[in-house]
Amino acid sequence: MIKDFVYHRANTSEEALDLLDKYRDDCKIICGGQSLLILMRQGLVAPANLIDIKGVKDLDYITFDPEEGLKIGAVTTHRAVEKSEIVKDNYSILIEMEKNLASVQTRNWGTLGGNLCHGDPTGDPATLFTVLNGSVKLASKERERTIPVEEFSIDFFETVLEEGEMLLEIQLPVIPPRTAVAYDKFNLIENDQGIVAAGVSVTVDEKGSVCQEARIALGSAAPVPMRAKAAEELLRGKKIDDALLDAVGQKAAEEADPVADIHASEEYRRDLVNTLTKRMVRKAWEQARALAGGKE
């Protein structure tokens, strides 16, 4: 049963910040509410004040700049991203991820900002944004700060957001040339939360012969979306072959810090991390080389 609360509708980010400042620890922000309302129904969250930013127009945008990269306003819905031409042209992997995120109904009303702030380690955006080296712009009445997405979540359903602070914008840098990104999750039911997710970005040299730079991010492999840095290290400057793929999968599995639950044991999650990482590295590597070779 949802506990009663005082409802406040913010029409601008300005108003939202004022309200946040006013109610501090005694309030919660609702946007799409696809996750929050469930928590409220279960009585896990019972704010005295609810600040609705769903209608904040100045946070509903998707812009792209060849230098700056992509900027997504916090209240932009998943669907808007999924259908955006500029996203399609410059970050097609993002569309792939969105299409496999929950149901159309959820994507129609749910927002990216809300998804990140929920801090669920099974959430796809946080993991993919980590691969894409994205960052988030946070603001409170006092200050504004921008931090990497990979530092945003600090534990299960916990983020760095402080009292009076809210997420304004998601920023993704331009994807470097000769770089391919692959992302996938393992689940029994399509579009369901991933039992494990892996995202990989590989940048190859001009000749497409070695991997110059790589980023590997894992979802549901730890209490928060995580980078598999040691595994990345193995790839840098190397030509990727099956032996290396096995080593990278192994390494990522070692780095992972999975938690057992009814859906999978810790061991099985490590197995999945291993397999998924391998597959995503191979996929990204092949695509990146194709780009280098000018082929598709």
Binding site: M1, I189, E190, N191, H263, A264, Y268, D271
Partner: protein, 770 residues
Amino acid sequence: MAGMRRQPMSKKYHVINTPVHNVDGIAKVTGRAEYTFDVVLPHMLYGKILRSPYPHARILNIDTSKAESLSGVRGVVTGKDTLGVKQGIWRRYKELCDEEILAREKVRYIGEPVAAVAAVDEDTAEEALDYIEVEYESLPAVFVPLDAIKEGAPLLHEQAERNINVTRHIEWGDVDEGFKQSDFIREDWFRCSSQAHVCMETHCAVASYTPDGKLTVYTSSQSHYYIKVLLADVLGLRENDIRVISRYTGGGFGSKFELDSAQFCSSVLSMKFCKPVKIVLTREEEFMATKRRTPMFYYLRTGVKKDGQFVAKESRVFTEGGAYTAMGATALYLTGFFQAFPYDWPNYRFDGYRVYTNTPPTSAMRGFGAPQATFCAETQIDIIAKELGIDRIDIRRKNGMYAGYEVPGQAWIQSCGLDECLDKVDEWIKGKGDLPANNGIGIAAYGFMSGGIFNWFDTPYAFSSAVVQVNIDGKVDLFIGSQDMGQGSNTTLTMICAEELGVNVQDIRLHMGDTDKCPVDLGAWGSRETLMQGNAVKMAAAEVKKQILEFAAAKMSPNIVYDLDIKDGWIHLIARPERGLAFNDVVKEAIRGRDGQPLVARGHYTPHRKGMISPAYSFGVQAIEVDVDPETGKITLKDCVTAHDCGQVINPLGVQGQLEGAIAMAAGYGFTEDLPMDEGKILNPNLVDYKLLRTTEMPETTVVEVETYEPEGPFGAKEAGEGLTNPTAGALGNAVFDAVGVSINELPITPEKVLEAIREKDKPETNKED
């Protein structure tokens, strides 16, 4: 008026086996169908149920004063406000009536009701639950049958020594001799998991007691008759002081023909406060505190000849009963019976034990013990076939049941299309050619009953009854006691009536779902409706038809050698169909002729001398194609065919729907659905963590109808819905076996288990383990 008319269609049936719109269809696609979930009565209160957080505890004291003083709360009831009747659906056996619903002394599972609140709205009622103070004395609990049966294990019910609830023995032939004659003997242990029904409409009821001593209960049920009688027992009312209503039931699958906490608590509250009380279980309550599929621990010992001839089978099962008997006793018998299906076992022995445990009671669920049995049996048969190097179709054909076969001392098979089903599936498989690596096809053969013969409920009524009334305008009223929970019986039975009476489906007005207006039927369970209620409807329609034809014959006064029939609203001489009268005209005059009294007739059906189980059995064979990912163990369903003998198909659209629905549900049982527990607490009581198949997991489905004629069924029809749940888990497991060579003996077949088994197999030397 008499005269010429277009030739009535010459084909055998004018309604049966033609696609007909569901008679409730328009109401359902326009959102007009009123379910119990939608019922709102004036001055209605809302109820909520307080449930035990302990798997096993003594109730020392319940203090409701704080809750009652809450504003908006009308009142609270506990076991003290009830007659304390221990009820159960196996009414013939006192010791099996063991559930109070509102516990007075002891709670035996997490989620057992201990109190119920009525308030002005749901939120207030829910809030009030926190203010009811229950003092418990926690008792040692036991959760697994094999522990519960041990000496010194905590006892759930004083009278049940070693927690043994029911035992079952089935035996024929000389099993021990049979094993002596066997060339090859195989032993296996299997574990079948539980499963939740997950009806989209959760259990709910609106009870309204009035000062004249009458109780009306709107409820989502599969058998209004059972609910009415069970309520009378526990409330101390007379059967007919209770009226149970609702035309629409949002899914049943076996979960809605026993008395549930929503029905009981809303009734008790309503009787106390003389106001309507509505209780709708939350999805979480539905998972934690309603009944579920029976988990089974199976042991199978099977002896065969070199050539695959079945010789002897010994099977033993311990079923996890949960805290109460429920329908579990029937599931125990049926799993033993169907363990031998659909084959001719010369020597067979079954010993089954249902054991009480401190978990939510297990009971009836679509297939009723047969899906578990079929999974174990079919899995083992494929292993045996492989070890003997015999084709899996051949070994089944060699041993399959056939029309005229008698299951010794148990049942007679009058119609059986198993062989043809095997041929059809064989063709389908051959048509697939070579499969890609890690793809495989698995098959399973199955059979099921068409309504149970047993009367543990101890009903004094006919198993099924129907009334048909023909009115002055030719419109027909059909009154039936059976319940349509989605399976489509309303349409099937209307079609049977239309066919028999020679009118069109649109001419019939169906009345059901109201115990005040409709005759008794035992309800929609055990695949009864088509055969049993169908026979009753056919009998009533035939009787009315006779009355009409008598009048028509008198009117037409044909040569006595001619006889009459009605088809498509046209009463005619069978030999000369163009000579006849319009149905409506004859009816009008006939009714005028009988002083304005409509033409009415009753029909009924009760099986006599039909064996121990059922009057008739459906058969079939299913094949499933899967793709297994050897690196993750993930199973993808690709394609599926089912060759199915349900006798004469009445409603093709209905049969296909039943089949596809059964596949989705049974495949879920096979590889995604489970109810893991920790100390008796279900860990995934929600639709996020309980994984049902969705549109994207459902494979293509092909149905091949193999028509036989069942002498016992209306127009030769038999069961076509529940039995379809039996083969899928087994076929799925066998497909994995075929794809990657590992056989999983434990449901559900999760990717984790598959991956583990693959690794086990790939180890240098695997030492086989049972």
